[in-house]
């Protein structure tokens, strides 16, 4: 392989592209939701303006060191997830730091950001933050179960923990995608994905009418901007991970954009049409059918795909 400075340079390029794409995507999504609601909606570049505005805002509040570190951890989680997810298959430049066990690392980082956020938001001392954190962590634990089961199923199926290997195995035609070879795992993972994106019905963490707006209640100015950046990077990384694992990866940027956009739209369309679950209901929901589907996916992989 190449030497590290070049790889880090490539990764920074990836990060910029995915970050910008993520920001743009949030603008597009807001516009799509607005269309459902009969509105025109924000300009697509509005998230960039908001980000710059937040960066330029002043702060006069101090809640202690962990409060400042919360968004840093969060951003680290987003960047970390992206670092181990190959963006384009077969491209030297867009392969990031993928290695033999990068799937586990990516999953770990997806957790890590949330935990960092939880500590930071807890430090802010706002009761709504604390409630939001408790809800967020509870819900995350719940949706990680079907997600982990789906991952186990495809790891068993492909016999590898490397995302690159998994993408490689899906090449050569649409029917080689996990979506068609192991649909149960994809269903379980996509339901978990609804929970991850935080749209209705699983937006109880940020529920603006109950606990205005949950963990980031006290975050403002550049901390909020950092979290917005993380949202963009993290959303991009998650989408790319899902695309790599279940929808055959992408070999060029156009394919990447189409596939990730389509995956995101699933969450958006569901989000536009559903009210929100209470946290106990959403935990119960995730631990019921999606978990069963996940277990069935492992059984299906073992019994049907492997022999």
């Amino acid at each position: 392989m190449q030497d590290w400075p070049v790889r880090i340079g490539y990764f920074l390029i990836n990060l910029t592209i995915v970050g910008l794409y993520g920001m743009l995507l949030s603008g597009i999504v807001a516009r799509t939701l607005a269309k459902v609601q009969g509105r025109i909606g924000i300009p697509v570049y509005q998230p960039f303006i908001d980000l710059l505005k937040n960066l330029g805002k002043r702060t006069a509040v101090s809640h202690g060191a962990m409060f400042y570190l919360g968004p840093v951890f969060r951003l680290a989680g987003g960047i970390g997830t992206l670092a181990f997810v190959p963006v384009l298959y077969g491209s030297e430049m867009f392969s990031n730091f993928n290695s033999a066990g990068d799937l586990l690392l990516a999953m770990y980082f997806m957790f890590f950001g949330q935990l960092g956020m939880a500590i930071g938001a807890g430090e802010s001392g706002h009761p709504f933050s604390a409630i939001g954190v408790a809800r967020g962590l509870g819900q995350m634990t719940a949706y990680e179960v079907p997600f982990a089961l789906a991952i186990i199923a495809i790891v068993v199926q492909y016999g590898s923990l490397s995302i690159n290997d998994i993408v490689a195995a899906q090449q050569g035609g649409i029917l080689n995608w996990t979506l068609f070879t192991n649909p149960l795992a994809v269903i379980a993972a996509m339901i978990a994905f609804l929970g991850m994106t935080g749209y209705s019905p699983f937006d109880v963490t940020m529920a603006p009418n109950e606990i205005p707006i949950g963990p980031p209640t006290e975050y403002h100015s550049s901390y909020l901007a950092m979290m917005t950046m993380n949202r963009a990077v993290f959303a991009g990384a998650k989408l790319i991970l899902f695309m790599d694992l279940f929808f055959g990866g992408a070999t060029n940027l156009v394919e990447l954009v189409i596939k990730t956009w389509a995956i995101y739209m699933v969450a958006v369309v569901v989000g536009a049409a559903f009210p929100r679950f209470r946290v106990d209901q959403s935990i119960r929901f995730f631990l019921r059918y999606p978990t069963l589907i996940g277990i069935a996916a492992i059984g299906y992989t073992q019994a049907v795909l492997l022999p």
Partner: protein
């Protein structure tokens, strides 16, 4: 009867004090709930009102009868016309003025349009409270079409100042009936959509069924009126029981439910919107097209109403809205008391129902009682 909630020991460290409001998007209007929570469960709730207190009753005592007319509508923002009508009704009753028949029809039309607009806002509110902001966007937009009708009819979107003592302030504009029918058709189509998206939605059902159950025997001791009462199975509606205006000539059904939970209350209100549209169509078709729309009035600048007292009430979207007027024969009101249905719904009832619910359900519960603070504190 008043039963205080069990006391909690805040210093034990088991409880968290939480303020919902006044700066909180999940609260109806400008009021606040002081919640004591244990985990996610609410163990005590206290309502705080008075953020919108303007002292209306005091202001009305130092204004003449006609000067009161433009300020009464400002008591309740979502339904100003009920205030106008009731103020006109009590003054007319004590002054012995009979408003002409055409004015009565126009008033009914005005009130029912207002009811529909208020319900649309409420429907959006309950959607938003449970996280369905699409419904909120749809309904508030359609409410705006009704506000357009109001603007055409009265010249104002929100505060109409249209129903004056003695009649109404003007006749209906040319071609109003056609445009009104058009808007009604649109609203009806929207309601069908909302039924699919909201009332048939499994998540909405999961959230609202069983939430905030009001037992039948609690209704009278807590003074619960309106749809909250009808959802508990009481077939009581002032429009049927004590018909005012021309409600005795209109055909409409009384909607009741038995479950008495948030879903039942929402469903009752949803059905009442359909009844409202039915009534509006009858109004438009059967309304007298000519004739006077204002009774002959004394010189309002020297208007002295004979001494007396009376109480008039009307069925507004939230329940029994009433005006109690006492006069002493002078040019000024002696005492006026505004009875808003939220008075008991938002305070005594809410404090009772909130206990034992999840924090996440407080906003939805609050909206499902359809409370509005200005009519509490006035």
């Amino acid at each position: 009867m008043f039963e205080p909630n069990p006391p909690v020991d805040l210093s034990s460290g088991k409880y968290l004090k939480l303020w919902q409001g006044p700066q909180h998007p999940g609260i109806t209007g400008n009021m606040s709930l002081e919640l004591t929570t244990c985990g996610d469960e609410v163990v005590d709730c206290k309502t705080h009102v008075g953020y919108l207190h303007r002292g209306f009753e005091k202001l009305m005592e130092r204004r003449t009868f006609i000067q009161n007319f433009p300020i009464v509508c400002r008591i309740a923002v979502p339904e100003p016309t009920f205030n106008e009508y009731l103020y006109a009704a009590v003054v007319e009753e004590l002054a012995g003025i009979q408003s002409p028949e055409r004015a009565e029809w126009i008033r009914t039309l005005n009130l029912e349009l207002m009811r529909l607009a208020s319900y649309l806002m409420w429907l959006g509110g309950i959607g938003a409270a449970f996280g369905q902001s699409t419904v909120y966007q749809w309904t508030v937009t359609h409410r705006d079409y009704i506000l357009d009708l109001f603007e055409e009819m009265t010249g104002a979107r929100v505060y109409h100042m249209y129903i004056v003592p003695g009649g109404v302030r003007g006749r209906l504009p040319e071609g109003f009936e056609g445009r009104c029918h058009e808007v009604l058709n649109r609203v009806e189509k929207l309601l069908r959509d909302v039924e699919k998206v909201l009332f048939n939605n499994v998540v909405f059902k999961a959230r609202t069924k069983g939430l905030g159950h009001i037992p039948r025997e609690m209704v009278d001791p807590y003074g619960i009126t309106g749809p909250n009462q009808r959802a508990a199975g009481f077939a009581r509606d002032l429009r049927k029981d004590a018909p005012y205006l021309v409600y005795d000539q209109l055909e409409f059904d009384l909607i009741t439910a038995t479950e008495s939970d948030t879903y039942a209350r929402a469903w009752v209100r949803y059905q009442e919107m359909h009844q409202g549209i039915r009534m509006l169509r009858q109004c438009l078709d059967r309304m007298p097209k000519d004739g006077p729309f204002q009774a002959r009035m004394p010189n309002v600048l020297h208007w002295q109403v004979p001494a007396g007292e009376t109480y008039a009430k009307a069925e507004c979207t939230r329940g029994e809205y009433g005006y109690y007027l006492v006069t002493d024969g002078s040019e000024y009101v002696r005492r006026v008391h505004v009875r808003g249905p939220s008075y008991t719904h938002a305070i005594a009832l809410m404090e009772k129902l909130a206990v034992g619910t999840n924090i996440a359900d407080i906003a939805g519960l609050m909206v499902s009682l359809h409370t509005y603070p200005p009519e509490i504190e006035r």
